[in-house]
Amino acid sequence: MMSISLQINGIDWQVSALGEKALLMKPKKAAAPLSLIHETVGFLENANITGLTDIIPAYNSIALVFNRLLQDLDSETEKLGSGLKGSGVGKRSVKKHRIPVCYELGLDWGTVEEHTGLEREAIINKHAAAKYVLAMMGFIPGFLYLDGLDAKISCPRKANPRTKIPAGSVGIAGAQTGVYSLESPGGWQIIGRTPDSFFDINKEPPCSVEPGDHIEFYEITEAQFEELSSSKERS
């Protein structure tokens, strides 16, 4: 596949077409840190690039979706370069969020305990002690993919996905942890539930978190979960 090189802040990127109206950017060095992706997304958001409607960050790449057909890759890359130069904006501010989790509402404790060889209490401590980065959102609106799970509590996803997982479920899949903002089918091992929701169509923007934000969890009891959930409904 054809690609062109582009330098942003001293880092080399490879730019190729993801479609007639979409570009894909990948850092050239193999194990680029996630912070590089989010920093670059920040630059792109502040740059003036004609027809750019969506910037989709992922673990090791960024997609740029336009409302127009791409020109040849050379001109597109040049436009990106000059748009970024004009922006002259630094890093976007990283927000920190503390998310309450009721671990008693986990659905897959048996599997996770068996796989990790750890007791529930130890797993909860490790899950709540880590600092996570919101890597990306996807698969359904407001699903949070978090990077930074303690390797000792990683656990493969379920062989047979559930057809329904309640909104707010917190799960583990491989080396990641994640949060379901909406009820949906899914294969993650569910270890708890948060009363918080991160997707609300009546808000602008509809998500209260952004890729690149820092996330921490803290434990709450089932009674606190009920109370927080009902106070949300009232407001």
């Binding site: 596949m1 969506d54 989709i56 090791n60 997609a63 791409l70 609106p141």
Partner: protein, 311 residues
Amino acid sequence: MKRSLEVLDGGLQTTVQDMGRVGFRKYGVPVSGVMDEHSYRLANWLAGNPSEAPVLELTLQGGSFKFHSDATIGITGAEAEIDVNGNPVQPNKTININSGEVLNIGRVKNGCRIYVSIAGQWDIEKVMGSFSTCLVAKFGGFEGRALNKGDRLTWTSQKKPTEIRSVPKKLIPHYAARQTIKIIEGPEWDWLNEAKKADFLATDFSLSSHSNRMGIRLKSSFVSDIKGEEMISSPVVPGTIQLPSDGAPIILMKDGQSVGGYPRIGKVVDADLWRLGQVWTWNEINFNLISLEEAKELSKYYSEIWDKLNS
């Protein structure tokens, strides 16, 4: 003047759709929007509406609607028996309906989705810039869901009935049982070796009945030999062809996610994506690889057709 219709039978899945939403992909919000953009634009033209107005998208089984006001409508897309109060009517031609009449759209005989436009301004609010229904997150369109019996759709129209328009014959698609779909290379195309690439392009695929607005799932004897290469979740767009290790490709469609974890071996060209809105289990699909430049030329070709229609 306020006008309305009542749903007597919503069929399998009848939703309000337009061109979909842009600007929210990073939150995991799908594009949504019509599966067959070509029929969609033709339907709006028939009703004298702006070409990107909301329409009803009906799936496989048709539906039945009682009009409580006079209305001017356009019906395009999949072939089916259509009648108004039992009198057969033709699609692809402006239809005037009188208050009290019932529009019946039968099960599709060819194709998969039928589009119904109604002249006027629908009483539906845009959510995040679009009228489209987002079924996975239950918002947009009509209460975020498919239409059910008893639902009432209302709209405002001052206009006298639009002139009777007929879609030019050459713009009415023929829904062939066997479809050759044009694709371009995806980021992971080269993960297939030359023999496998040739094999993929020579394979006839059939559709799984698990296909839907999120993705079209294909079946065949094709076997993927992509092994050992760990695919990290990466951005995808409507049309992206994912190849899981079982060799059964998934073509992401309008309700598809914004990131995916399977090799993206190709992408259906935008100019052919609407054809996939009309395929179902009775169709056979094979792929024809073209260049990005050719794909863009095809996009321009369709844009010109649609622009000319509305000029």
